[in-house]
Point group: C2
Chain length 432, copies 2
Amino acid sequence: LAEGQVETVERQVEPLHPADTADLLEALGRDERKLLLRITGEALEAEVLTYLEPELRNAVVADLGPKISAQLLKQLESDDALEFFEDLDEDPRTQILSRVPRTIQRLLTEGMTFPEDSAGRLMQREVVVVPSIWTVGETIDWMRTHKKQIVSDFYDLYVVDPRYKPIGKLPLSRVLRSKRPTKIAELMSEDFYPLKVTLDQEEVAYLFRQYSLLSAPVVDDAGRLVGVITLDDIVHVIDQEAEEDILKLGGVSESDLYSDVLRTTRRRFSWLAVNLMTAITASLVIALFEATIEQVVALAVLMPIVASMGGNAGTQTLTVAVRAIAMKDLAGRGVARFITKELLVGLFNGLLFAVVMGVIAWLWFDQPLLGAVIAIAMVINLVVAGLFGALIPFLLDKLGADPAIGSSVFLTTVTDVVGFFAFLGLAGLVLL
Amino acid sequence: LAEGQVETVERQVEPLHPADTADLLEALGRDERKLLLRITGEALEAEVLTYLEPELRNAVVADLGPKISAQLLKQLESDDALEFFEDLDEDPRTQILSRVPRTIQRLLTEGMTFPEDSAGRLMQREVVVVPSIWTVGETIDWMRTHKKQIVSDFYDLYVVDPRYKPIGKLPLSRVLRSKRPTKIAELMSEDFYPLKVTLDQEEVAYLFRQYSLLSAPVVDDAGRLVGVITLDDIVHVIDQEAEEDILKLGGVSESDLYSDVLRTTRRRFSWLAVNLMTAITASLVIALFEATIEQVVALAVLMPIVASMGGNAGTQTLTVAVRAIAMKDLAGRGVARFITKELLVGLFNGLLFAVVMGVIAWLWFDQPLLGAVIAIAMVINLVVAGLFGALIPFLLDKLGADPAIGSSVFLTTVTDVVGFFAFLGLAGLVLL
């Protein structure tokens, strides 16, 4: 593909959308990526940078060198530039910063003073603002004469008072539909949601989602308008949030798709180590009943079934709970109702599988009592699974911990311990 | 709260945003909900309907009665009306349909002819369209005289040719910035992505995300413009997709937060039944080694550890793979590289935990050979877990199955079977 034929490559890359070029860079190996970047060089579209996975940004900047990187950065809109800039390592950051014009330098360093993952990091600084005393005609004339200073495309005007506080939002379609003498104050909508510059991006995403917003103004502590966030800035926050929840539930701390083997091994290790504790705890419970197992070895054959069914049933409940917490779908009395419901679901499925598994165990080992033991253990473990699968996430959330990370460890510890204890304990009482 | 004091309730509900009113309805019990709806009645804001969880829509329509429901539906924009309508049961649907004006009837029945979850179901029918030969002045004048027919707020004009094919997109800010004699054809951008009306919503979401779109035109089979989709219509698709992936990985087929106990029990049952098969398969493997366990009962104590570590390590890999498939982050050679990497990660973590667990088992049971056996079994199972955790999702995806549903069953079957087989089998060879 990329070996020597410089012009062919250029011809193929050029018509690509920046997002596709970024995907191409991500799909290539390191050497091929370097080669491609050397070929395109400054001709690379600046937007490609914004579409790159954060893991790759430093590598691409290193390949391009600070001079070209700075040139590309200069062409980006303020929010994209900051997003790209904040993910860089210390060194390239200072190198690039010294190579961009002073206005961009100021925007970037100011942007970095906002807390990570806050509204201030997401917002676009370019906002078109009008005073409420203007008319439609004055607004149109001003835009025609100042078109150089106005960002390329935008959708809402913001109306501010003399102290620069936002007092209204004005979709452009309203301006276009109205006669020239109409006052801006009559047209504007007061139905807008100012976001504090320090608001966490998850909260920002929640407000956008809850109120179906397409854009929202960002204000500083004094309530002055400092920027605007549009929905397209939020989509990747929404994706990221969902990704984090999925990955954490699966025991992966963050996306390691683009990390190398050693880094991935290290990151996954800690989670597995925690799980080893859980597994050893369960083994300690089994060890309590070594004598029982020695006499009825069928118990060793059947015991993982009780534990595994509890783990799976609990995970179902837990997943629904974690998602509901993330989406803020449950609160107050809803939580109590949810826990009661899950307990009942656990009871009913427990009874169903008690019958199924009781009969199987009875026929398999020709021991009706063994069937009865596994049936009772199954009911106990599935009720416990429903209860704890529902409880644990809310408790963790209350304690300020992330329910997506810790829940499943606690849950499997509970379902394993209860599963083995109930089954082997009952067996010890009944069968010996 | 809601007992008797009609006016107090009205006063509290009225200022709420429709989204918050919908949340309130969801949080209430059935009787309270009925009471609240009886109090608000027609005064309920129509948008509340669009924010309701699908599970609750039928219930609320039943509470309101078809007459009021139809009146509310009439006030919604075309995409919201269709979204609400499509989730209703057959009966209320026909009752409501007979009570709305003919134009809305046509839009709704036509909308229902598009495949479920397609662009046609998401789009808004109201699009403002201009011919390319017009000037900025003509466009503004036309909008001022036709303001009644134009939807409340919109952000882009679409430029069509005489056969109504979209040939350009025109952000309103460009119209406002330009002088009256400027031709529309000079201003419009050809950088837009027409979506087929039958395109699946996941594909639509992918395109919006990949190209950071804020809106896109929808065209019929002949390429004629029939509607427009804006990003806010897509956010809930993105949420829904992520939710489905999370829930499926957790063994829940769809959100059952608002379902009753019996329905939830039934839905969860089938997944647990599949898992019972997996668990029994694993037990059959253990049963092969009953004689071995009878002699060294420590094996029964340790064997769940090997299986559980394999399951957890495999789930980590699987989660990353399922997410990468959903986000279309891996293709072609990337897949091969991913599988190799995961195999190596499995090997390295396998070696690390082999040492840890080998030492623990040795000290615990004072048998160095037992330590060696669990160490080797650990390496084998974690390599297998990495390999299959990476392979299974891609195989299922290739076969047209949903990797989020089936992967984990196959994976745990593999890691359980291999885990028990490797550990008990080796033990049989070495220890007896």
